[in-house]
């Protein structure tokens, strides 16, 4: 029941906003309220959740299309509940930011944001393959408009590239969904068996590789992240990319153990290349949002390494790092948005020296940057460490590349910090560019506070995700001689 509420409360609110002509402030306030209710619902779910139990919880099932075995079936496992929580928190911050930035055509805008929130929650809750596909696609509809209408000058091109990339992947996945479901006679993730078919596996993999993105499927990334409004970029990189993680862990690992074993080397290699390449690109980018965009690509590579390690350490690390990366990447995009509101740009060439006279901004950016570079002791470090320890089982080479990625992360994070805060004062940094306002602090500080709590207690997630080692066992059995 709670899973259903998490999906349909925001969707219903979106419909209300679209239909009822309310004033702009009311629309924004209502949207923020609903997003906070969503966070509240998630906390209730967290309290009710029994992490010792490995079964699906908080679930609801309703037959939808009987003859092909398709049902509306939602619920959470420990690890997917964390992703749902990430969604609620990041979306609430993003909607709060939009309220602050004052987006025009408010009813359409906030309705779309809430619709996006509901569909992402649906992705993380769905336990039926077709339902998953439905939500996976439904995410794209609001994103398309949010980027295309409220985005930057190159927004139309960015949306075309985004849609063509993601839909090309999604339609291959649809073919795979059809093939898998019809062969199995059911679309239920719990009831469906395993498949040895490499082609079906590849259909799913390509879709998730584009969504993540994993090298070499990242062509849409920079335009989409930099042309969208900062808060939409926050949701896109922080949360939407995690739909790929959900797909890999919920669909690919349990249902395609043999292809996973066969293709593991290739996927791990691409993920490692993506990590190194994305991090290098991040280091070379001329503006804040591009740095965060490519760092996201690198971190998604790292998460994929963890998932395809297919062992306890790797998977726990992947979930933990999904959450921490989601939080940090959203914080950085929102901070970039705040800088843009002050200086009109986020290009390093025109920024710099903002620390002077702006202690709050300096502190927050510094904290976020330090967390992003995964300093030992931070939650991000914990996640990376688990992933590297997990992937070490499959070859020290991957772990070496992973460790290199951490070094590169330090490089681009420090460049990011100093590019905004230090060096000489940039031409666009005027005295009118004031320090962070209390409202802005209220948006970013909770995200960073979550990260600090997780830094103190990473086991909150890493030991409350997979009560048993089911995915690991399935693949191990398939590869056993």
């Amino acid at each position: 029941m709670l899973a259903t509420l998490l999906i349909f409360v925001p969707v219903a609110a979106a419909l209300v906003l679209w239909v009822v002509p309310v004033a702009r402030e009311v629309a924004g306030g209502l949207a923020l309220l609903v997003a906070l209710v969503e966070v509240g619902l998630w906390i209730v779910a967290l309290v009710q959740f029994d992490f010792a139990d490995d079964r699906l919880q908080l679930d609801a099932e309703q037959e939808w299309i009987g003859d092909l075995g398709i049902s509306y079936h939602v619920g959470f496992y420990g690890w997917s509940l964390w992703l749902a929580g990430l969604t609620a928190v990041v979306c609430a911050a993003a909607i709060g930011f939009a309220l602050w930035a004052g987006r025009d055509r408010a009813r359409a805008y906030y309705g779309l944001m809430l619709f996006l929130l509901g569909s992402i929650a649906g992705v993380f809750a769905s336990q039926d393959l077709l339902l998953f596909y439905v939500f996976f696609e439904a995410m794209l509809i609001p994103l398309y408009v949010l980027v295309g209408v409220w985005g930057g000058p190159g927004r139309v091109r960015a949306t075309v590239v985004l849609v063509i990339y993601t839909m090309a992947g999604s339609l291959l996945m649809l073919a795979s969904v059809v093939a898998f479901g019809v062969t199995e006679g059911t679309f239920s993730l719990a009831d469906a068996g395993t498949s040895e078919n490499d082609w079906i596996f590849l259909g799913f993999m390509v879709a998730f590789a584009i969504k993540a993105p994993i090298f070499p499927f990242h062509g849409w990334l920079r335009a989409a992240y930099t042309e969208s409004p900062p808060e939409v970029a926050a949701v896109l990189s922080g949360v939407v990319s995690k739909a790929a993680v959900f797909g890999l862990v919920a669909i690919v690992l349990p249902h395609f153990p043999e292809p996973v074993a066969d293709f593991r080397g290739l996927v791990l290699t691409l993920a490692a290349v993506g990590l190194a390449y994305g991090s290098l690109l991040a280091f070379r980018q001329p503006d804040v949002r591009s740095v965060v965009a490519y760092s996201s690509m690198g971190q998604m590579g790292l998460i994929t390494l963890g998932v395809f390690a297919v062992n306890d350490l790797g998977l726990d690390g992947a979930v933990l790092h999904s959450v921490t990366h989601g939080l940090i990447s959203a914080s950085l995009f929102l901070l970039a948005g705040m800088v843009i509101m002050r200086c009109g740009t986020d290009a390093f060439a025109e920024l710099g020296g903002m620390a002077k006279g702006r202690p709050l901004l300096a502190t927050v950016v510094m904290t976020a940057g330090i967390l992003a570079l995964a300093v030992p002791g931070s939650a991000n470090f914990a996640g990376e460490f688990l992933i590297l320890a997990g992937v070490f089982d499959h070859g020290w080479g991957y772990a070496v590349v992973g460790a290199t990625g951490i070094v590169l992360a330090a490089m681009y994070s420090l460049r990011l910090i100093s590019g905004i805060l230090h060096v000489r004062r940039g031409p666009r940094v005027t005295d009118e560019a004031r320090d962070l306002r209390p409202y802005e602090l209220a948006l970013v500080v909770p995200l960073l506070a979550c990260l600090l709590v997780l830094s103190a207690w990473p086991a909150a997630i890493s030991e409350h995700s997979f009560p048993d080692d089911q995915p690991e066992r399935a693949v191990a059995e398939a590869t056993a001689p």
């Binding site: 679209w18 037959e63 939808w64 299309i65 009987g66 003859d67 092909l68 055509r105 077709l130 596909y133 439905v134 939500f135 696609e137 439904a138 794209l140 509809i141 398309y144 408009v145 295309g148 209408v149 927004r155 139309v156 949306t159 075309v160 849609v163 063509i164 839909m167 090309a168 339609l171 291959l172 649809l174 073919a175 059809v178 093939a179 479901g181 019809v182």
Partner: protein, 489 residues
């Protein structure tokens, strides 16, 4: 001495209701004063379609067992009844779309012809032998030829009418020739008798099959028999285009399905391959040509060609799932077609000129309801979830996969990816163009008139498009009951 066959008036009642409405409309052109003529004719035609739809529902309910009527020339079964419900619904929506058009002359004739075309289609999908099949085809075609050319003061309309007449007659001729060859080879006209009489690969017989398939493909505007489609769709009055896009295609595809599966099961290896080729050609040509269009009606015409391709995949699958997929697909497809052309009609009436993508600029923000509705239709055409278009495509793919046509699934998926560019192009044009360019579209004569009938038609289309997704289960069950009458091995 020929015995008079007994007539099942109940099974014929939907057709008769529409024929009656058509006759009353025609009389109204003479008897009703000009002032009230539009209201009377439109209400009568609308009532005719609604009555036909209700009667078809009753027939559906009462026809659990398929039977042949009137000397085995007509069928009474759920397949025909479901198709009739869809067709009647499309007709009723077309009447609503027509209501607000600025037509001054031939109002009574217009609605009369619309009802007559509807009656012909309802008759057509009930056909049980080659004679009634051809009769139904000509019946609705002739009505449509005239409807296309009815805007006599517009050159485009006359061109559309003439083109449709010539090409359509050619298609009918081919169909008739094919029917004659089939009759020559088997000595039978009834679908069931043809099945029993088949002489394997008699060249005469095979040629007849091929020509009938080609003739029906003309009507369904499947490539390579689609050449008339863009010109006719663009030139015909928009409400007529809406009706043709939804209803003609539905009728032609349902009859194709019935004819091939009932009369020619022995030749299935041959015709499934042929239909698959038609499907691929339609998907390729329809989508590629649509990419280049600037005129929205023309673009939608090519999109309808590509949708014929999708539905032909369902026929090529040659299994019950495929028949179910086709019948389900027609429901959201008909709603989306009428709705999309309805929105085009709204813009057309605002501007007084043909609607191109450039002239849609800012439309989404000016008319939020129509804009959002167009969004829904475009997403539905593109097969996005939350619309029935998605479930339709999904079922088509599932059916194709079940009969081993996995490469058709891939082709369909690629075609869908391609189609996104132009479907979302409409959305881009409506919402995302830079404001300055919007000045080029000047609304003719102040603020647009409020047209409640059109708003209702578009609203119902949206409701059906989304509702057929949410209530996909029950609708697919209905489609399955209809598909069960076909003799799949």
């Amino acid at each position: 001495m020929i015995d008079t066959p007994s007539v099942d008036w109940f099974a014929l009642s939907p057709v008769l209701a529409l024929l009656g409405a058509s006759a009353v409309c025609l009389l109204s052109a003479v008897l009703v004063p000009a002032l009230a003529r539009r209201t009377v004719a439109a209400v009568v035609a609308g009532a005719g379609f609604v009555t036909a739809g209700v009667l078809a529902c009753l027939v559906f309910d009462a026809s659990a067992d398929a039977e042949l009527q009137i000397a085995e020339s007509m069928t009474r079964d759920r397949l025909a009844a479901l198709a009739q419900v869809i067709l009647a619904g499309a007709g009723a929506l077309a009447v609503l779309v027509s209501w607000g058009s600025k037509r001054r002359s031939h109002v009574g004739e217009y609605y009369s012809l619309l009802a007559a075309a509807g009656a012909g289609m309802l008759f057509f999908v009930q056909a049980g032998n080659l004679m009634t099949l051809f009769l139904g085809l000509e019946w609705f075609s002739i009505a449509l030829y005239v409807l296309c050319a009815l805007d006599t003061e517009r050159e485009g309309s006359l061109e559309a009418g003439l083109k449709y007449l010539i090409v359509g007659s050619f298609g009918s001729g081919i169909l008739l020739f094919g029917a004659a060859l089939t009759y020559g080879a088997t000595g039978e006209l009834g679908f069931n008798q043809i099945r029993e009489a088949t002489g394997a690969s008699d060249p005469l017989f095979v040629t007849g099959l091929a020509m009938m398939l080609a003739g029906l493909a003309f009507k369904a505007s499947a490539a390579p028999f689609h050449m008339w489609t863009p010109d006719v769709y663009q030139g015909a009055p928009t409400p007529v285009t809406a009706f043709m896009a939804a209803a003609t295609k539905a009728a032609a595809l349902v009859v194709t399905l019935r004819l091939l599966t009932v009369a020619f099961p022995e030749q299935e290896a041959m015709w499934t391959a042929a239909v698959a080729v038609l499907a691929v050609a339609s998907l390729a040509i329809g989508n590629l040509a649509a990419l280049a269009q600037r005129d929205v009606k023309r673009m939608l015409a090519y999109s309808s060609v590509s949708h014929a391709g999708f539905m032909l995949i369902a026929i090529a699958a040659d299994n019950e799932l495929g028949a179910q997929a086709l019948l389900y697909y027609l429901i959201p497809y008909a709603a989306m077609s009428i709705g999309a052309f309805g929105v085009v009609a709204a813009r057309e009436r605002e501007l007084g000129v043909d609607v191109t993508l450039e002239r849609l600029e800012g439309f989404g923000w000016e008319r939020p309801f129509f804009g959002a509705a167009m969004w829904v239709f475009m997403l539905g055409f593109a097969g996005f979830p939350l619309t029935g278009g998605f479930l339709g495509k999904f079922y088509v793919f599932a059916a194709a996969f079940e009969s081993g046509w996995w490469w058709l699934v891939i082709v369909g998926a690629l075609a869908t990816a391609l189609s996104l560019y132009y479907y979302l192009g409409v959305v881009r044009a409506m919402y995302m163009r830079p404001g300055a360019a919007g000045a080029r579209a000047i609304v003719a004569g102040g603020s647009p008139p409020f047209d409640p009938a059109l708003a209702v038609a578009v609203g119902v289309s949206v409701a059906v498009t989304i509702g057929s997704f949410v209530f996909g289960g029950p609708l697919l069950d209905l489609a399955q009951e209809a598909a069960e009458v076909l003799p799949f091995s």
